[in-house]
Symmetry: C2
Subunit: 414 residues, 2 copies
Amino acid sequence: MEVSIITVGDELLIGQVVDTNSAWLGSELEERGFRIKEILSVSDQAPAITEALERSFEHSDILLMTGGLGPTKDDITKKTIADYFQDEMYFDEATFNRIQRLFTKLGRTPLEAHRLQCYMPKKATILRNSMGTAPGMLFKKGDKILISMPGVPYEMKAIMREEVLPLLERDYIQGARYKRTIRTIGNGESQIAEKIGHILDKFPDHISIAYLPGMGQVRLRISGSGEDLNVLKEEVEDFVDQISVELGDLVFGYDEDTIESVIGDILTQKKLKIAFAESCTGGYLSHRITSIPGSSQYLEGSFVTYSYDLKERLLDVNHETLITHGAVSEETVIEMVLGCLNKTSANIAISISGIAGPGGGTPDKPVGTIWLAISNGDITQTKKLSLLQDREKNIQRTAVYALNLLRKFLKEQY
Amino acid sequence: MEVSIITVGDELLIGQVVDTNSAWLGSELEERGFRIKEILSVSDQAPAITEALERSFEHSDILLMTGGLGPTKDDITKKTIADYFQDEMYFDEATFNRIQRLFTKLGRTPLEAHRLQCYMPKKATILRNSMGTAPGMLFKKGDKILISMPGVPYEMKAIMREEVLPLLERDYIQGARYKRTIRTIGNGESQIAEKIGHILDKFPDHISIAYLPGMGQVRLRISGSGEDLNVLKEEVEDFVDQISVELGDLVFGYDEDTIESVIGDILTQKKLKIAFAESCTGGYLSHRITSIPGSSQYLEGSFVTYSYDLKERLLDVNHETLITHGAVSEETVIEMVLGCLNKTSANIAISISGIAGPGGGTPDKPVGTIWLAISNGDITQTKKLSLLQDREKNIQRTAVYALNLLRKFLKEQY
């Protein structure tokens, strides 16, 4: 079954909004064995929407469309679809009642714009939107279907989860598919490709690999299709094992693992607590760790000490050290990490001090110079990074580096 | 001049990577007066790429393509384009020399995969990639052009900035266009639409509005096209003024302003320093503020106090208060904010304590219960939020709320 995704909205074309809906839809459908033919983003203009419908109905069985159903003037998808199906509109009392209940719950009154949203095409099957006002719609065209949903991501996801996915799972079936993702950290795509090339040469045609590089990490997706799930599974798992052995310590996890979740699992298991003393990363490392539910079990807390003054007052860094070696120095991060251990009940601490940029660099310490330290009181390790020139990337890359440092430290010392 | 963007890669279709390249390209081109016809994402298969080329050449003058130029096995764009143009490959010494210099600088040696990247189609004009190995390519087809670039965002952006945009600016000219963005915080799209509907009714055909909702914020993009830039500018600015007056305090800035940059500007101007005491937001508020270059001028630092213990030790919150009222209470955030002011040299502090979820809720204090306090020592304000159930969104929404609280506090008190 081939699926086309159509996202509607000038804001996507001119880049004021990044289309995250397509990626989410693609991932949900691929997991269920549907093949995503393409993603097409078009403007809020009737001819563009109509042409997208025509094209997609030609080569796909299922059309998923998001956007253009909001209450404001630039949203015209519903009318265009109705015209495409030569349909008429009616006022849908059920939708209006649902919106009224939603607003009563929020202590507000529906506006005129919300009343207008209740005019629906007669041929559409209404898909309930439990998170917002605009309902989704399902149209049939022969054996093919079109599903139109609002573009607000959490509303679209609610309609998908509650209405669309159960329907697709019921009505469409696929052959066997099997997929594993190997998650690596610390090497680039080319280095990994060189290491595992001799294994990939043995891949049969029905098994493939994709490299999915991210900030400081590369995911390897091994996927296959076949007749018999058990045979396929065994084949894929065998390759996953071979690649894992070859890559060794670069592999930190599989599938839905994240570096944060893997660290969280180890800390929970070993009953260890951590704390951070962040300077140039400004709280981002703490944010990454606290993005995991339950992180309060192992994160004691953090200090974001941007100023010299706070490094001294909160972490007992010596004024002398800061004056002699500067805030961005091995000496300072060592005092920061030990101060962080002293001021908290954490077993392990990480400290970071660097120049994220774009200002603040010197010939001696250019932008991108970052010092890190990790310590459990007995053992203290330090590391100097020399990164590139972009503030945001420097902050993110440093945090990823710190996370990997913590993962390795846990592996070595505990 | 109509532009089509084509992004290539199975990873985009199955949602393992979000296509941020298209948004960036769209934004850069739209700013220069190009019209983006559509964005099409297709798989790493030759027929899909070829069909995308045919379609896009049919209705656009400029094709921008990203992805599929990397050194690994799933990247086949270059070969497919060469076939499309019935072209042959040659080994490009200049590219190989550049790659060798790049690797020497990094203290590494090029791999075989990098050598293979140096085979280029003869008809292509090579576009230098200053940030990576795979070069970009430009092909002509009559009056139309195709530009193919690697999918790694910072490599693609470097090629665009250094090679493609100067070329497009030189060779293509457009009529007058003018655009302003009004940035609001604190109301939803529908509420804003209701407030300004009577102004939008006066918009002529050549001026339009788009609502661009984000987390807790809505951007209003007013754009127009015409013959005379001065006339158009006056018209658009007049509507911007009318809408700004109508929305009043909901407007926090314009165009490239962000809530963080607006706050940073006020703090710098008034020579004020801030500090945060974060619990459930886990450093995310500090991260938002420190995403702005130069924020070290006004951010003293932050405490991320996840545990009771750290709230007491670092912020002098009374043990009694925590036991009697709980960590998520008005009493606790008041003691946190005053402790934060005491322990730093900040003029203004914000404290946050809440239950981000998914665990930790009680009937009394369900997930999404968040207390905030802001204080300058003389005046302390508190606020309770009751948010929905998603951890990530709760953290983000709370940070946005805190930023708006700070903006308003600065406006009222200074």
